[in-house]
Symmetry: D2
Subunit: 214 residues, 4 copies
């Protein structure tokens, strides 16, 4: 049986939950298109997060890897297009590390493009009534770090798909951040199932609009 | 048995659903604190909306009246503080009427303050994990029109509580409006139940922060 | 010679300048349409602000009174439509007062509508290349307090025009608030001159779109 | 004498002006730190924009190249960190081309990092009272196209600095886009002079916070 590896993060930045793990953990053991979903929680820590992720990839040899992270302040599910080779932390990670303008992989490529069919995924989510869009930046914190590391890791395995999805706050988090948008766990869960289905079925991405003028 | 009247609107502005009626209609017949919830759909039409509302108030003599409307673009459940005596339509209503700077009730007061305990409601919603805040303006379209008309109607019935609550787009609406925030129907339903409970139990509002510097 | 009274506020909320006074003070002594502009700085204090304003009105008997205040976070010049009879302070004023849900004038009307031609003013500003819009709420802090008090004061003087205009941060303020929009002092100054000209020339407001659906 | 090449764009997307050229053209012939500023207008066209830029670089052999573009909707001057190797046009360019997910340089690196000291530039702008921040994405339209092409072009000339700066709408543009933030031409001009000065003086960038969690 083939595996789909889906990861979420532990809480960070003063939050008591991380919506990514709250939702991802609900997918543990699901069968989607005859593949088994395996989930893992990553520490919100530069370096360690990738150690945990890489170990899971080595163990499972998954067909698809989707890392999921919280993007507090975003309104919809955002499928990341690209990860860049830099750690630039606005706040410390959960071990107190705050790298500024340091390469993730010294000598590595400046960026890795996602290996998920992002346009097809956004289209399928919207058709399912889920607010979604392509994002042109995954930031420069641990999420981008994990996305870059993941794509670097699988760069020599042509058949493995992988990428990163950012999700909004949960309503219970936004209740403590007046003015912040949110999305219910049920909606996010449905979004992730769509993302897995599309990743498993879609060989090439579709050519539809999803860019940004800036 | 006492009644709680809750209204939602029909779709407007090119939408095929209105989240207010989608959610409000789910409350029909509920019993909350030994009161029966009765729901009505209002046309998104200046004048007619108030005819339907007023007839329902006359028929039911409710203890609490909560009118609910869509506020596409807002991130949370907003409890309106005040309605002002002006119709100023940015878009036509569902009958093609587009009044500009016309009083709702000629000679009526410039404004009516809500008769819901708005601070207590916001506090209770947040405690329940629902993003909510006080809003200082209900706009100048049919929502404000209904809120003003409602408060004008019940102004001489000291024991009737009433007011207006704005809610965000549903996710399925926001899926067609990239960049717009949304809220799941389940979250909005929970919010409205909290609003009804607080309105029924709370005699005076609490003195907590909820103002805006501008 | 007739007078136009224009007021700005002292800094508040941790700022070292208030853009309203920075710009308003530049208008002192200007002659616009054969009227002399007189400017006054108001303290950002509930009560005292109105004492200073009322004294200036009594002294000058102005044809037009425009009070100007800072709205940090707004993108354009906003002409306020209405002031409501409530003080509800999110932060303390400059004397440490923080009234919550207290009427400005006990027994006074729930609201006063502006006595400036707001639609004509917005149209004229936009024609001059200045970003401007009608605002449906002046908040519940000292700005709304001053607007309400001003309109209450001049309510029995049919020939006096008056109202309130909110302006964005200055660029030098926004430089310390990443993410906040701003407007140059020169642009705001041009806006205020337009507002004075329109107030002096325009007898009735024009009927053009300027409402909000919520 | 050494040259600083600064480019702006022609109008696009229905605008009649492009703030980048409006401001950049004012710098023509300036002497900053004994370098002469030469300005060029680029067509808002995939391909052609780079032909014009590359010809100017070949002709002038400049010490610093700063390309400037309009980012309607942004509130401040944003110094771009990275350009990615993809054209993905949300709207057609000025020749009607709308490439979707096409590499700018087939076989080129996935991204090029800026060769401007972006943290030092942001710090210096803020010290001068100009709202500014680091941006993690230049989009996927002609601006990103030019930034990528510029950095690709100068990638083998270790001593040439270069990068891209996005600027907000001018006030006169925002006056036609209610809700859009803007920045006065004078403020933008001051920002660009700071950027040139810092680029000429600063050898290495400073290590200060400027990242994004997402």
């Amino acid at each position: 049986m083939r595996y789909v590896l889906v990861t979420g993060f532990e809480p960070f930045g003063g939050e008591t939950v991380n919506p990514s793990w709250e939702v991802v953990s609900q997918l543990e053991g699901s069968i989607i298109d005859r593949c088994r979903v395996v989930t893992r929680q990553l520490p919100c820590v530069f370096g360690e997060s990738l150690s945990v992720l890489n170990a899971a990839i080595d163990e499972l040899n998954p067909a698809v890897v989707i890392a999921v992270g919280q993007a507090g302040g975003r309104v919809d599910v955002t499928i990341e297009r690209v990860a860049i080779n830099v750690d630039d932390a606005r706040i410390p990670d959960n071990r107190g590390q705050q790298p500024i303008d340091v390469p993730i992989v010294p000598g590595g490529p400046a960026a890795w493009f996602t290996r998920l069919p992002i346009k097809a995924t956004v289209a399928a989510m919207r058709e399912s009534g889920i607010p979604a869009s392509v994002s042109q930046t995954a930031g420069t914190f641990v999420c981008n770090h994990v996305m870059y590391g993941l794509l670097h890791k699988i760069s020599d395995s042509a058949e493995v798909k992988g990428g990163f999805i950012h999700i909004p706050y949960l309503p219970e988090q936004a209740a403590a951040h007046p003015g912040a948008p949110s999305m219910a766990a049920q909606t996010v869960k449905a979004a992730l199932i769509v993302a897995i289905e599309v990743a498993l079925r879609q060989t090439d991405d579709v050519k539809i609009v999803g860019g940004a003028t800036h």
